[in-house]
Symmetry: C2
Subunit: 306 residues, 2 copies
Amino acid sequence: MTCRSDDLLRALGETADAVAAYLDRAITENAPLSARLAAAMRHAALAGGKRLRPFLLIESAALFGVSRDQALPAAAALECVHCYSLVHDDLPAMDDDDLRRGQPTVHRAFDEATAILAGDALLTLAFDILAREETSPSPAIRIALVAGLARASGGTGMVGGQMLDLAAEGRFESGARPALAAAEIERLQAMKTGALLDFACAGGALLGAASPEQRRCLGIYSHAVGRAFQIADDLLDVEGDAGTVGKRVGKDAAAGKATLIDSLGIEGARTELARLVAEAEKVLEGFGSAATLLAEAARFVAERRN
Amino acid sequence: MTCRSDDLLRALGETADAVAAYLDRAITENAPLSARLAAAMRHAALAGGKRLRPFLLIESAALFGVSRDQALPAAAALECVHCYSLVHDDLPAMDDDDLRRGQPTVHRAFDEATAILAGDALLTLAFDILAREETSPSPAIRIALVAGLARASGGTGMVGGQMLDLAAEGRFESGARPALAAAEIERLQAMKTGALLDFACAGGALLGAASPEQRRCLGIYSHAVGRAFQIADDLLDVEGDAGTVGKRVGKDAAAGKATLIDSLGIEGARTELARLVAEAEKVLEGFGSAATLLAEAARFVAERRN
C-alpha cells in the first residue's frame, strides 16, 4: 500500500514537472510582447497544484499504449482551462479570494485587469495547443479534443456549473435563497468540477482510440472520481485548516451554501467515498495492471487532505 | 455609388440577421441550465452591432463560391470572440463602461460575476462552434480555423493587444507613463483590432481553399481595413458624440492615451484613410466583380460615423 502510494506520488510529480515545462514554453511563445501578461499567466499556471487533470488524461491514454510525451500537449491544454477558471473564480466579483495554493491569487499579485486578461489568454491558449500537430497527427482527433474540451468547460459544463454555484449562494436574489436539493447540488458539481475530470479520461481515450466499451468504463471511473473529489472537497471545507489546505476554508458555511455533507452527514460522506473508490477500482479491472495508477489516484482523491 | 452603398447595407443587414439567428440557437443549446447565463450571453451577442467581422469572413469565402450558409458557423464563432472581448473590456476593472451599442453593458444590466462568466462562455462557445461538422465537413479545415482563431484572439493577438493598451494608459506604472511611438501604437492596434479582422479574411480563404496568392491578397486587404478601422475609430473618439457613436467618446484623451491621430493629425488621418481604401480596392481587382462588396466594405469602414 505504501509502495503503491509512493508510485502514485512519483508519477504525479513527474507529470506535474512535465506539464509545467510544457506550459512554461507555451506561455513564452504565446505572450512574447507583454512581459506582464506572460508573468501573470505563469503565476496562474506554474505555481504548483496537483495536476490531477493532466495526470488522469496521461494515465488514461497510457492504458492504450500512448506515451506521456504524446499525451502531454492535450494534458497541458486541459490544465490551462483549469488554471484559467481558478484565476477568474478568485476575482473580487466572484469568490474574492486572496490565497490560492498558499500564494497570492493573480489579481492580488498583479491587478484585476491583468487577472481577467491572463485568464482569457490561458483559456485561448488551451485551444491553441489542441490545434497543434504535436497534440495528435490526426486532425480528426484534434478536433474531437477541441469539441470535448469546449463542451466540458463552457455553458453546459464548468462555466455553467459556476453560474449555478453563484446562484446557489443567493448572489442573484434579493429575497430568500433557493434551497438546493441533493440532486441539484450533484448536478451543479457534476458540471462545475466533474465535466473537466470526465474530459481528462475521455481525452486520453480519444488519443488512444479506445473502443466504445473502454470509453464507457473510463466514463464510470471519471464520474466516481469526480464525485469523490467533490465530497472530499466539502469535507475539507468543514474539517480542514487553511494552512494545510492552502486556501480559505469554511467558505461554504460562511456563504450559507448547501453541500453534499448536508445531505450525507460526515460519516455518510466517508461511507460514500469508500463506495466510490471501490466502484472506480472495479471498473478498471478490465485494463489489468496498466490501470494500477488510476486506481491509486481514485484512493488519493478520496483521502486527500489538501 | 449610392446604389453600391445600398447593396452593402442590405448585405450587412442580412449577415447580421443570419449571425444573430445562429447565435441565438447556439446560446440556447449551450446554456440550457442557467437562464441568467443564457440571458447575459444573449445580451452580449444579440444586441446589434455591425457584424463587420462575420461579414468579412462570409464575403471572403464567397469569393471562392462558398455560400453564406456554409460560412455562417465560422462567422458566428468569430463574432462570439468579438462579443466576449467587449464584455470583458467593459468591466469596471478594465475600461469601466456603462454603455455599449446604446445599451447598458453586461455588468450593468446583470452584475460583474455574470459578465465575467458570460464572456468566458462566449469565448468557449466560439471553439465549440468551430469544432462542429456543420462548420466544415473537413476536420483539417476545422482545426486550421481553431488554430487561426486562437492565435488571433490570444496573447499574441487581441488579448495581448488589450494588455499593451492598458499599459499604454499607464495602468501598471506608478511613475511616468511610457510615451508610445507611432510604430508601437500601430503594433498594439494590429494585435488588439487587426488580428481578428485578419482572421475574418483568412478564415473565409480557409473555407474556400484559396491559393497562396489569393490568401496574400486577402491579407493585404484585411491589413488595410484593420488600419482604416482603427484610424476611423480614433477620429470618432476625437470628433464624434456619444449619441451617434453609441458609446462613450473622448476616452483616449481622458486617459491621456496616444493614438494614431497624434502622429498623423486629423487631415493626415483622412489622407491615410483614402490611401488605405485605394490599396484595398487595388488588391481586390484580381477577384473581379465578386469582390464588389468587400471593396465597398473598406470604404464603409473608412467613412463610418459610429
